[in-house]
């Protein structure tokens, strides 16, 4: 087990998702990518991930809906959101639902890592 925790990444843009995984792994995390939110929902087990990094706009199930469903299974799961649409209604929903940060795409890698570290250390 990595000392830095296991991160779930769900983004329908595979290129971006793969890059995020690489960035997270470089920083010492274990990370897993799903490009299909429904598949992620089917495969995730409670307690498996310390944190979820979810895109807000995805076909099938949007990030907020996915988070809601994941949280029903794993009430302690922490989550942050990413979106290209800073003025999306979903941004508000994401915050109301308890997602901790909403990053605006393009997500700046060093900023992302800094925030994730803080969140995993304090749980908020």
């Amino acid at each position: 087990m990595s000392p830095r925790g296991h991160i779930l990444v769900v983004d329908d843009n595979a290129d971006l998702g793969e890059n995020l995984i690489e960035i997270l792994e470089d920083a010492g995390y274990r990370a897993q990518l799903f490009t299909d939110p429904l598949e992620a929902l089917g495969k995730v087990c409670p307690g498996q991930y310390a944190l979820a990094l979810l895109d807000l706009r995805m076909p099938g199930l949007d990030g907020v809906e996915l988070f809601r469903a994941l949280r029903r299974r794993d009430p302690t799961l922490l989550a942050v959101a990413m979106t290209a649409f800073a003025h999306d209604d979903r941004v508000r929903e994401a915050v109301d639902e308890g997602m901790l940060v909403v990053f605006t795409k393009p997500v700046e890698p060093s900023g992302l890592l800094g925030r994730l570290e803080g969140i995993l250390a304090t749980g908020a």
């Binding site: 290129d15 971006l16 995020l20 393009p106």
Partner: protein, 391 residues
Amino acid sequence: MDERAPMEEHLFDEIKRYVDFNAADELRLVALEPRAAPHLPRIVDDFYDHILRHTGARQSISGGHAQVARLKVSLTHWLAGLFQGPWDLGYYERRARIGRVHVAIDLPQQYMFTAVNVIRAHLADVVLSTASPEELRPELHAVDKLLDMELAIMLHTYREDSLHRLRQGERLATFGQLVASIAHELRNPLGVIESSLFLVRKRLDPAPEPVARHFDKIEAQVRLSNRIISSLLDMVRERPAAPREVGADTLCQAAQEAVTAARSTPLTLELRVTPGVLVFADPDQAQQVLVNLLLNAADAAGPSGRVRLTADTRGAFARFLVEDTGPGIAPEVRRRLFEPLVSTKARGIGLGLALCKRLAERNRGSIGLVQAELPGAAFEFLLPLSTGSAE
């Protein structure tokens, strides 16, 4: 008479059909002409007396006696035209063109009712004092019908104008949605480029010299693209104002710095800022307007030209005056200058001034083209003063 409206009926035919203007009316107008002609100068004088006596209507005639004299000649021709015909599409077009002159100078359309009535009353007098008893009613009727048609044409030109503005607004809304969706879509590939660059840089650290330089270029260009996207989104989004007290001098200096940073060529910018002027506005939005005006002015002035930014007060408003030594604004674009997609520049997409106007209005201010000292264009941008302002 055929009451069916043919598919392609011209508006003028529809108006004539509606008021039942017919050949007999035309004959009566022709017959009235010699009896009306001697009265035209008097009618014209009275017409403008009415306008000049009216405090509101008077405002529209800014050119003094010379303009009134010129208008009197125009109106005399117009009146003579009433009796000459032919009342065909050419007639309609000539009358509509005059209507569009009134629209173009922003003459309030309600003045047209009173104005036509002045003429109606005078022509009724002419008919009443000159027509034979049996022709009295039909002649009055013919004049009434024609003046109703004239009024309909005038009001139609106002309608043309508001339809035009409406379509313009719709065009902007559609355009705005398109811009917003393209801008958002571009953020995804840029995100991939940015994160890939981040990873490649880490794998190749330190990068050999030419590679490092290219990395820097890619990074700078990605950042620039992101900035362009953000400003496009800013333009099409309705961001509410967050007003607070801010010094006019602070705004001017910040705008000056932003303009200097944004331009690759140096700019001669003269600042004349009255100290102690405090405005109550959203500082970012106010600055955005100033930067926009200054960049336009700098473009217009050209490399050898000058730009001047003055900040002082006008009543309850802070006034920012941006002047340049460029060629000025062509009269034909002046009126539509603040409409979206109207550009005076070969490179512009014509959102800048429309955005400025909306930002100014959102901050309970205004923006307009004025006459000033420097020979080029001058824009006056007003923002409400904060109550703490020094007088």
